[in-house]
């Protein structure tokens, strides 16, 4: 009897809350309530009613923020992926010895028991298609294709000997983002939002921005695998609705939509009272979030309102799908508490088989389109005091050969085949040792000779900076605990501040 009374009391308190919240919604002139039902229920400091144990933050809102298990260095991540694998030999890994071998046949010892995607027979070597200089106080090397990068070179820690065992785009991208070269595992952004939730209820917690096309591995690289699908990346698009179905239908004003929503939630609450299923409360909450997202997402996606100086700094191209725009959007999003912003820029597969993918043509266009916005992103985050709480990661899915690709037995424009043994990535931001260089490749940039790090090491390091121990951050599926780094991975302490 006593128990029943208590339950009834709880029932009433939820109802009272609901009514007061409705009142709040109705009085709110800025659209629907600024607080989610979950947040409201739990943030009430005065006269806090008892919340039944089965209603948790996470049951009302699967994106509710959770504290990191260890002290985090950063709150959010911006991951810049150059899809197709940019050539380390034309950007950061300076190899004067390779220039001497230019257009000479490749020594057979380099081809022994090696498998290539396209190289057939004995290719020639290809010298660096760039000039290099030491820049910044760190004196680190950078190529002439990245003039703006000089400004931020001292913010960056280089990994010069990253390696992967995958040399086809799709599987290599999957490995980079899900820890496995085969489809089915959650992506890193999904892991992170599952573990930490999002600080902003009105925006997706894990946003994906693309320019030039989608990655070869498709949406799996931001998929949620066996985690609940709510944690998959939300692809915010530059054309059409930024988030699918975001726009109200024609003829339905915001005001009218609000009334529709009130009616839906009103009836749903009655349904809750009738059937007692807490899932209905979750639905009410989700509908409110959807309503708020309808205004907050277009707002955050709108770069027109940014000051001219900022637009100039990034080199944005309003109305187009451009990497520069995406960099600016990434800044706006982390500023508003989005947890993980993933950028994919397509078109770095510099085989040389056609001008669009040649190192003396298409590749230069890609450098130009990304150099300025990347520098701007870091400087902009810095001037806003956000760089210390954001991690920026730059890289591709693998590297490129010091050999000149000879697809179908023919040497075309300067281009390089896929290579997994050594490539460059860099990180900047919170917790990163500024100006550090870790890892070294051989004289021609073919293999790592010092400080080799794996894809799982990269992932372990990102998770570490977010406050996770990658071996302990697991999810049980099919009777066993899975983790992003599968069965390996070490935090790369050499680049940590």
């Amino acid at each position: 009897m006593h128990k029943v009374k208590k339950l009834l009391a709880e029932e009433r308190s939820i109802e009272a809350l609901y009514n007061s919240r409705r009142h709040f919604i109705k009085d709110c002139t800025l659209g629907l309530g600024g607080l989610a039902l979950g947040g409201f229920l739990n943030s009430c400091s005065t006269g806090s009613p008892k919340i039944p144990a089965y209603i948790t933050d996470r049951s009302l809102n699967p994106m509710a923020p959770l504290p990191a298990p260890f002290l985090p260095k950063v709150k959010s991540v911006i991951y810049l992926h150059m899809v197709g694998a940019p050539s380390q030999l034309e950007l950061f890994d300076y190899k004067p010895e390779l220039a001497k071998l230019h257009n000479q046949p490749c020594p057979p010892s380099l081809l022994d028991s090696k498998k290539f995607a396209f190289i057939q027979g004995v290719p020639n070597m290809l010298g660096p298609q760039a000039t290099f200089s030491r820049e910044g106080a760190s004196g680190n090397w950078v190529s002439n294709h990245l003039p703006h990068f000089k400004k931020i070179i001292d913010e960056v820690a280089f990994l010069k000997a990253v390696h992967t065992d995958q040399f086809n785009h799709g599987p290599a991208q999957l490995l980079m983002y899900t820890g496995s070269p085969r489809v089915g595992r959650p992506s890193i952004g999904s892991w992170v939002t599952y573990g930490l939730g999002s600080e902003n209820n009105n925006l997706p917690g894990f946003v994906v921005l693309t320019s030039g096309g989608t990655p070869d591995a498709g949406k799996s690289v931001w998929g949620s695998g066996f985690l609940p699908s709510v944690y998959q990346g939300v692809h915010c698009r530059s054309k059409g609705d930024p988030v699918l179905y975001l726009k109200d239908p024609k003829g339905v004003s915001r005001d009218l939509k609000k009334k529709v929503l009130e009616s839906i939630n009103d009836i749903n609450f009655k349904e809750y009272q009738e059937f007692g299923d807490p899932e209905v409360l979750t639905r009410i909450n989700q509908y409110e979030m959807a309503y708020r997202m309808q205004t907050s997402v277009p707002e955050v996606m709108d770069i027109d309102k940014e000051p001219e100086a900022i637009k100039e700094m990034y080199g944005v191209q309003p109305g187009k799908e451009a990497f520069a725009n995406n960099c600016l959007l990434a800044r706006k999003m982390v500023e508003q508490g989005v947890r993980f912003v993933q950028l994919y820029d397509w078109g770095w597969d510099s085989h040389g088989a056609s001008p669009g993918e040649a190192l003396d043509s298409g590749f230069l266009r890609k450098c130009k389109a990304t150099d300025r916005p990347i520098a701007a992103l870091i400087l902009d985050l810095k001037q806003r005091g956000l760089l210390d709480e954001t991690l920026i990661v730059w890289g591709g899915e693998f590297g490129r050969t010091p050999m000149w690709e000879n697809r179908l037995g023919i040497q075309n424009s300067p281009g390089r085949d896929h290579q997994g043994d050594a490539f460059t990535m860099w990180m900047a931001g919170g917790g990163i040792k500024k100006g550090a260089v870790h890892g070294k490749t051989d004289l021609i940039g073919y293999s790592g000779v010092e400080g080799r790090v794996s894809v799982h090491d990269i992932q372990a390091t990102i998770l570490h900076l977010l406050g996770f121990h990658h071996e302990q951050f697991t999810y049980d599926f099919q009777g066993r605990p899975f983790r992003l780094t599968d069965v390996s991975g070490n935090v790369i302490n050499e680049i940590l501040a």
């Binding site: 591995a217 009103d266 099919q478």
Partner: protein, 913 residues
């Protein structure tokens, strides 16, 4: 005297021992290995002493290892002697370097006590429940209160009531007719009931059972349940990697729908999908069934190693087979023995040997493909095959039949190696001026017709085939002609032709050289896809031979829909299977033969040692997992959770069954009295009182049993992605009942399918194809239909055992704003617009939910209607292109459409109560 003493002492000893034993047994009830010991070992020990690592030479995975000699040359477990057993000593050890688990928290006293007692009692090993045979299980007797409550309408209810009784729970009342009618219709057909049938049931004209039976004979039953199976089968309309090109495999989807509708028994359903091609003289339908395992991804990204992705596909088949039929995570065993369950590393590869002998080799055109011949061609084929039968033996008949239907066995071009001036690229080999290539170890078995599939780019060149070297004996020559289209322009645009070939009984290396008058050096003269050998048509010289031969040439080069199927290698092309070192396919270890895991049912020596035998082994009544898995999964479809809650896994890490006896009762009956009939199984569940309860959730029950493990109420489940879409179209009257055929492309936002270099390929369907059931929606793996994805449908790249239902803002955006739902809302409104507003709203609500709206709900909607109306009256411009439907809409209809849109977003519409 001394002897007597000895005997007495001996007797005394035995007696004492007996007393002690009695004492032990009496005070310490026997510790159960599976339920008490194994969980402790799994939790604390097995990650270092199991299938992955075997530190200090000690493992607790298998009994022989656990009790065997370790690196210290002693066993760690000495039965009946815990105090001398190293395992126990180490748990107590004071030196932290010695104390186990190493560098982890110590075991609790309770846990140590359990292990100690277990060893003292003899350390009997046990078998995990799921690996024990399914036994006949009588329903338990339960308290009379359940009978009084009329809860015991099926033996099933006895099992449920027995567990409720333990928890002092009482069942809910039976759900009202409208609620149960909608629930049944969704669970059987995935749609709301058709109005006539519903009325017949609601007014009592037909019984509950008649209503259920009527739903089962609807063909929508097959469509509903096929959605579930297609998740397991990872069915999709594209190949999956990179460009993710299309694949025509929809005939498999249609096969599944038809199989469910004709209630093909699950054992046969299994055999046909896993090994239909190996059945004696298989029908076309049985060949299509084997496409189950051709749903694996195919990688045609440039520069990929076909063998690597063929291996990946074979591995996926092993893993999927065990995911689908055995609730066993065999994927764990690729690299090492299973971390927790008793499966050995080698056993994985013995299983793989069953699947490793098919003709598919990750070739871009998905070959082998079954040609969907026209009726006319089928007649021709019958004529040819009759002729072959008359003039030859059965093996020749099979050879011709296989080659006509699916062009196997053949040698695909990717096995060529270029000697000079040529290339092997994707599915083709091509040569330039002076070019040459070879393929090793070709077997023509004396057959003298060489078939080629190619595209020719010149009329001035000849291909010369030689034996064993570029100077070897000429085996045949082929004059190239300008004919056919490149593969990437037209999948079937190449042509098939044949030449005479030298009679070669022994294997040879085939050398090909291009001879040409052309001076151009960079031009490729042809692209060859494959070659194959065929015997001469038998019956040469008999009347009619010429006609039959002509038909043969014709049917071999017809174009049409292709379905990838499984085809076994003939003996002369058989593959070997090796253990892969740590799962790495490039590092092969010992060769293995086909075999099944020791822990499961024994292999009957009568069985064929191939996929067919394997499939029969899988559906043998002795197999402990097949029936249990199916029962658990079907239960999950109906109740939203499994009797074993980890529906993917029944291994030792799985949650124990909530109702073990019920699981076994259903599994046993499924195999024996139900003869593997899925309809009977589903019906048995739907006829139970357990199912028929109301889903009302009282606070008390929520407190006692928040997750409804004891089924004292019915679940309230959100509809599936397909059901939500289909229902919106159904209630608005838009839903097409057209069945089967290629995937359709209902409207989706622009730019979803934009590929970096292939452009937007989504061509919105026209006419009724826009309104087909969700199961017919074209599924592109890298870019699945977004509104279905929002509601947790899978992208079908790999086997999906369960969709985890989520509740997100993106779902709200779909049902509120997706033009598909707006059109449905408008159509729904139009069918009610001639009524008075309140009646119209009430009718729409009823049509949508089968419930009469309570007054306050109706009032809420009516208020919304009035407000909408007012808004539109004040600002009629809002109605220009209302909902973006390019129609002229009046104020009343627009306002009703808004109500319809609201109704389609109600929780009671999106769930079934």
């Amino acid at each position: 005297m001394r002897k007597e003493v000895k005997i007495l002492t001996g007797l005394g000893g035995i007696l004492t021992f007996g007393i002690i034993l009695f004492y032990i047994l009496k005070t310490n009830p026997k510790v159960d290995f599976s339920s008490e010991v194994k969980p402790i070992l799994n939790k604390h020990c097995i990650s270092c002493h199991g299938g992955v690592k075997k530190n200090a030479g000690f493992s607790v995975l298998f009994e022989s290892e656990a009790k065997g000699i370790t690196q210290s040359e002693k066993p760690a477990i000495i039965p009946f002697n815990a105090s001398q057993s190293e395992l126990i000593k180490r748990l107590h050890h004071s030196d932290p370097e010695m104390r186990m688990p190493y560098q982890k928290p110590a075991l609790s006293e309770e846990e140590i006590k359990t292990l100690t007692q277990w060893i003292d009692q003899g350390a009997d090993w046990g078998t995990h429940w799921a690996y024990l045979p399914v036994e006949k299980t009588p329903p338990p007797t339960v308290a009379s209160v359940y009978r009084e409550k009329k809860f015991l309408s099926s033996p099933l209810d006895h099992f449920i009531a027995a567990r409720m009784e333990e928890k002092e729970l009482l069942p809910n009342q039976e759900a009202p007719k409208n609620i149960i009618a909608r629930r049944l219709a969704f669970d059987i057909t995935g749609l709301p009931p058709n109005p006539d049938l519903y009325n017949a049931f609601a007014t009592g004209r037909i019984s509950y059972e008649n209503y259920v039976d009527s739903l089962f004979i609807e063909s929508s039953y097959g469509e509903k349940w096929a959605s579930w199976w297609l998740d397991l089968a990872r069915y999709a309309d594209t190949m999956g990697f990179e460009k993710d090109p299309g694949r025509t495999i929809w005939q498999y989807r249609d096969w599944v729908i038809k199989a469910f509708n004709r209630d093909l028994p699950y054992d046969q359903f299994t055999i046909e999908q896993l090994a239909g091609d190996l059945l004696p003289n298989p029908s076309v339908e049985q060949l299509i069934a084997t496409a189950f395992h051709r749903n694996t991804m195919n990688n045609d990204e440039g520069g990929t190693d076909d063998e690597e992705f063929r291996v990946a596909a074979v591995i996926d088949r092993v893993n999927t087979t065990f995911d689908v039929w055995q609730s066993t995570t065999m994927s764990c065993v690729q690299c090492h023995s299973h971390p927790y369950d008793p499966f050995r590393h080698k056993e994985y590869y013995q299983l793989m040997a069953f699947f490793n002998n098919t003709r598919d080799e990750d070739i871009t055109d998905d070959t082998p493909n079954l040609m969907n011949h026209s009726a006319k061609d089928r007649q021709k084929i019958e004529g040819i095959l009759d002729w072959v039968s008359t003039h030859s033996d059965t093996s020749t008949h099979k050879y011709f039949k296989d080659f006509i239907l699916f062009k196997e066995p053949k040698y695909p071009s990717h096995h060529f190696e270029v000697i000079k001036n040529g290339f092997v690229s994707g599915p083709t080999m091509g040569l330039r001026k002076g070019g040459a290539a070879f393929m090793k170890n070709v077997k023509s078995l004396g057959r003298q017709k060489l078939y080629l599939k190619l595209v020719g780019h010149t009329n001035r060149s000849t291909l010369v085939f030689r034996k064993d070297s570029l100077n070897g004996k000429i085996l045949g020559t082929f004059k190239i002609s300008k004919q056919g289209k490149n593969f990437y322009k037209d999948r079937q645009g190449q042509f098939i032709t044949h030449i005479d070939f030298s009679r070669e009984e022994d294997p040879f290396d085939l050398y090909v050289e291009l001879e040409t008058q052309d001076l151009e050096t960079k031009k490729e003269h042809f692209k060859l896809h494959w070659f194959a050998f065929l015997p001469d048509l038998p019956g040469k010289g008999m009347p009619g031979y010429a006609d039959v031969n002509k038909s043969l040439v014709e049917v071999l080069d017809v174009k049409g829909d292709l379905t990838p199927i499984m085809v076994e290698n003939p003996d002369h092309m058989k593959r070997q299977t090796h253990v892969f070192n740590r799962g790495n396919w490039r590092v092969k270890e010992e060769e293995v033969q086909t075999g099944v895991p020791q822990i499961l049912n024994a292999w009957d020596q009568q069985l064929e040692k191939n996929r067919l035998g394997f499939a029969k082994w899988l559906v043998d009544q002795e197999n402990p997992l097949t029936a249990r898995t199916l029962v658990n999964r079907v239960w999950y479809q109906i109740f939203g959770k499994g009797l074993v809650s980890t529906v993917e896994d029944m291994g030792t890490m799985a949650d124990p069954p909530s109702h073990p006896a019920l699981l076994d009762w259903l599994s046993y009956e499924l195999m024996h009295s139900m003869n593997w009939s899925l309809k009977t199984l589903i019906k048995t569940i739907l006829m139970s009182s357990t199912y028929r309860q109301s889903s009302y959730t009282s606070r008390e029950k929520l407190a006692v049993d928040p997750n409804n493990i004891f089924y004292s109420r019915a679940p309230r489940l959100r509809l599936t992605a397909e059901e939500i879409r289909d229902q919106a179209l159904f209630v608005s009257g838009l839903l097409s009942d057209k069945m089967y055929g290629p995937g359709v492309m209902p409207p989706q936002p622009d730019g979803i399918w934009e590929h970096a270099y292939l452009g937007n390929l989504w061509k919105t369907s026209k006419g009724e194809d826009k309104y087909r059931r969700g199961i017919y929606t074209y599924l592109k793996r890298t870019s699945p239909y977004p509104s279905l994805m929002a509601f947790d449908a899978g992208s079908r790249e790999v086997c999906l055992v369960r969709r985890s239902p989520t509740n997100t803002p993106l779902q709200a955006l779909v049902t509120m704003n997706d033009p598909v739902y707006l059109e449905a809302a408008m159509q729904f409104a139009k069918t009610h617009r001639n009524k008075e507003a309140k009646v119209a709203i009430s009718d729409m609500y009823q049509k949508a939910t089968l419930r009469v709206p309570e007054e306050d709900k109706l009032k809420s909607l009516l208020t919304l209607y009035e407000e909408a109306k007012k808004t539109f009256e004040e600002d009629p411009q809002q109605l220009d292109d209302f909902f973006g439907l390019q129609q002229i809409i009046d104020i009343n209809t627009a306002s009703l459409a808004l109500i319809a849109n609201a109704i389609m977003n109600l929780d009671e519409f999106l769930t079934h109560a």
